[in-house]
Subunit: 340 residues, 2 copies
DNA sequence: TTGAAAGCGGTACCAT
DNA sequence: ATGGTACCGCTTTCAA
C-alpha cells in the first residue's frame, strides 16, 4: 500500500488514440502497424515505436468497434439452450470449435435459456454473427432463419430432427434409430416391445421421434409397442423393475445406453433374466455398456464430424448464394452384443 | 423465379435510421421508443408507428454498436478450451448460464483452443466482457488477469486448482480428493496403492494434483504409491489387467468412476477379486458406479452451485472495488460401497 | 414531444 | 511514409 497503484488501477481502458499519442503518430498509423496492412508501407522505426507503445499501455483492440466498422464479424454462433446430451455430447462440439477456429472464426456459444424460438433468434441476430449453427437444442423456425439472414448472417445451419426452411438443414431423423431397434428385436422374435421415455428436459424431442420409429417399423408387423416413462434415478428404475412382469414385455429399448444400464441392473436385481425373459437394448454405443454382463446391445449412430460441419459452415459463408437445402445425415446400425 | 425476390434478398440489414425514415421520425425517437426510455415521453401514436416500422423491416438492434456507445457490455465470458469433463460437466455450466441470464448477463462461451494463456486473455479482452469466469480449463496467469482488468472487465473469477493473483479465486484443491482416498485406503489396511493417470487432454492437471494428494497422505505412513497411465479404452484396460499381478498392488484409485468401471471390469475378467485381492475406488459419485457388482466406492466432490457462482459474479461486477482473494472451496468425502 | 448532433473505437480512403 | 477524416449503428445530451 506504500506505492499507490492508483494510476494503473484507475486509468480507463487504452484506445488506439492513446497508443498513437504515446508513439507520436496518428491513429491511422497505429491501425496500419498493428494490422500489418500490406497496402501501405510504414518505416521500421515507426513500427517499433507503435508496437512498444501498444505493449506499454497494454492495448487490446475493441472487437465491437472493429466489426462495427468492418460491417461484418467472423462470429459463428452456437446457440445452446442446454448443454447437449446424447450423441452431440462433448467431443463433437469441441471438435467443431477447434475446426472453426482453424478457419479463423470466433466461436461463441450463446446460451438462450428461457427464450422461445423467435425471441432467441432475435437475440442471436443482435450479435450479427456471420453464421449460426443450431445443434437442434432450440427449435429454429423459418421465421427465425429469416431474421438471422436479414441481420446479415451468411449461413444458417441446423443439425437436428427436422428440415428448417431457408437453412442448410442436416437432418438426423431419429426415427431411424427406432426403426433399426424394431427391426432387430422383431428379427430376434420379440413381439411385445417396451420403449423407455426419459423424463429429462433435453431428451423429450428425440425420444419421441425414436418411439415413432419403433412404432412405424414394429406395429405393421403385428408387434405391440408400449412407451414407459422413466426418470434417471435408481429408485425409479427399481420401482419399474418391481412391476415389470405385469407389463408382459419381452423386450425393451431404453433410449440410450445410460438408461439401458440403469434399467438392466434393476431388472437383474429383480430376478429377471436378460436376454431370455426380457431383451434390453440401448443406443450410442458407449464404452461402459460393454462392461456390463451381459454386454449391452446398442445402436451406433453415425454423426457428422465437427471437422466436416466446420467446412460446411465455411463453404456456406463464402458462397452465400448457394441454395440452402435438406441433407439426410443419419445412419444407424444395431450393434448386437449379449443383452438381446 | 417468376416473382423475383431480389428486393428482399439483396436489401442490406436495416438500421434504426431505416426505421426512423419509414416511421417518419428521427433516429433519436426510434431509440427512445424501442428502449422504453422513461426519461422522455413519446406520444402513443408515434410509439405505434415506430414499432410497426421496426416490425415491418425486421429491425434488430446491433449489439456491438450499442455496447460501443454505452462503453460497456453485459457479456460474461466463459472461456472453454475444451468442453469440461469431470466434476464441472454439463449440468453445472447449464445452471451457471441460466442463473447469469436471469441476472441479465449475456453469457458467451468462447473457445480458445490452441491459444496459450496470455494470447487467450488478449483474445478474450477484445470482446470487452464485464466479467470473465475461468472454469480452470485454461491456465490464467496474473498477467492475463491484468490484461482483462485493464480492458474493462469488472470481475475475473477463477474456479480451479490454484490461486490466481488479482482474481477472485475459488480454489478447489484437487489434492484433497487424493488425500481422502489415501486415508480411506490406509484405513482399510491397504499399503500398496496404484493411481490411474488418465491420458486424456483435459484431465492431466487435476489427475496430477490428485496423485500428489494421495502421495502426501499415504507415503509418510509407509505406504507406496504408484502412478499408472491408462487410456480410456477397453484394450488398454485389458492389457493392464493382464500384467496386474506383477504390479503387486492391493488397491487402486482410478481417477474417476468412468475409469474405475473400465478398470474394474477388466480386473474381474482377469480373475482378480475385488475388493479382496485389489480394492478399487473412483470419484464423482456417478450413478452408473452403483450399478456394478461390487458397487463402486467413490469420492463425492462438493461443487459450488452455478446459482451461487452467478451471484458471486454479480456481486463482483457491482462492487469492482471489492478485493479479490482466495477462497477455499472443495469438500470431498469418501462414499464407501463394496469395491473397497 | 421531437430533432440535431456529438461521439464511442476502429479502419480505410485520399491527401500530403 | 504518414496524417486527416469520414463513417460504421446506436445512445444521449441539448435545443427547439
Amino acid at each position: 500500500m506504500s506505492q499507490t497503484p492508483r494510476q494503473s488501477a484507475e486509468r480507463s481502458v487504452p484506445t488506439s488514440a492513446d497508443v498513437a499519442r504515446l508513439a507520436g503518430v496518428s491513429r491511422a498509423t497505429v491501425s496500419y502497424v498493428l494490422n500489418n496492412t500490406s497496402a501501405v508501407r510504414i518505416s521500421e522505426p515507426t513500427r517499433r515505436r507503435v508496437r512498444e507503445a501498444a505493449e506499454e499501455l497494454g492495448y487490446v483492440p475493441h472487437a465491437a468497434a472493429r466489426s462495427l466498422r468492418a460491417g461484418h464479424s467472423r462470429i459463428v454462433l452456437l446457440p445452446t439452450a442446454h448443454i447437449p446430451v446424447g450423441p452431440l455430447c462433448g467431443r463433437f462440439i469441441d471438435e467443431l470449435q477447434w475446426a472453426l477456429r482453424r478457419l479463423d472464426y470466433t466461436v461463441v456459444q450463446y446460451g438462450s435459456l428461457g427464450l422461445d424460438g423467435d425471441a432467441a433468434a432475435r437475440a442471436w441476430a443482435e450479435l450479427r454473427p456471420v453464421a449460426v449453427v443450431s445443434l437442434g437444442e432450440t427449435a429454429l423456425s423459418p421465421r427465425g432463419v429469416g431474421v438471422l439472414k436479414r441481420s446479415g448472417a451468411k449461413a444458417v445451419l441446423t443439425l437436428g430432427p427436422q428440415y428448417v426452411q431457408g437453412a442448410h438443414s442436416l437432418v438426423m431423423d431419429q426415427r431411424q434409430v427406432g426403426a433399426r431397434v424394431a427391426e432387430h428385436l422383431l428379427d430376434r422374435g420379440h413381439r411385445r416391445i417396451g420403449v423407455i421415455m426419459p423424463e429429462e428436459q433435453g431428451l423429450v424431442l428425440s425420444s419421441e421421434r425414436r418411439l415413432a420409429g419403433v412404432r412405424e417399423s414394429a406395429e405393421p408387423l403385428g408387434a405391440t409397442v408400449r412407451p414407459i416413462p422413466l426418470a434417471y434415478d435408481e429408485g425409479a428404475a427399481e420401482a419399474l423393475a418391481g412391476r415389470w412382469r405385469d407389463l408382459g414385455l419381452d423386450a425393451v429399448y431404453a433410449y440410450n445406453d445410460e438408461y439401458a444400464m440403469l434399467l438392466m441392473r434393476a431388472l437383474q436385481d429383480a430376478g429377471i433374466g436378460i436376454p431370455d425373459e426380457t431383451a434390453v437394448i440401448g443406443a450410442d454405443d458407449r464404452l461402459l455398456g460393454r462392461l456390463l454382463r451381459p454386454r449391452l446391445s446398442t445402436v451406433r449412430i453415425d454423426m457428422v464430424t465437427g471437422q466436416h460441419l466446420a467446412e460446411l459452415v465455411d463453404r456456406a459463408v463464402r458462397d452465400p448464394g448457394g441454395i440452402p437445402g435438406r441433407q439426410e445425415l443419419m445412419g444407424a446400425q444395431v450393434v448386437r452384443r449379449e443383452s438381446t
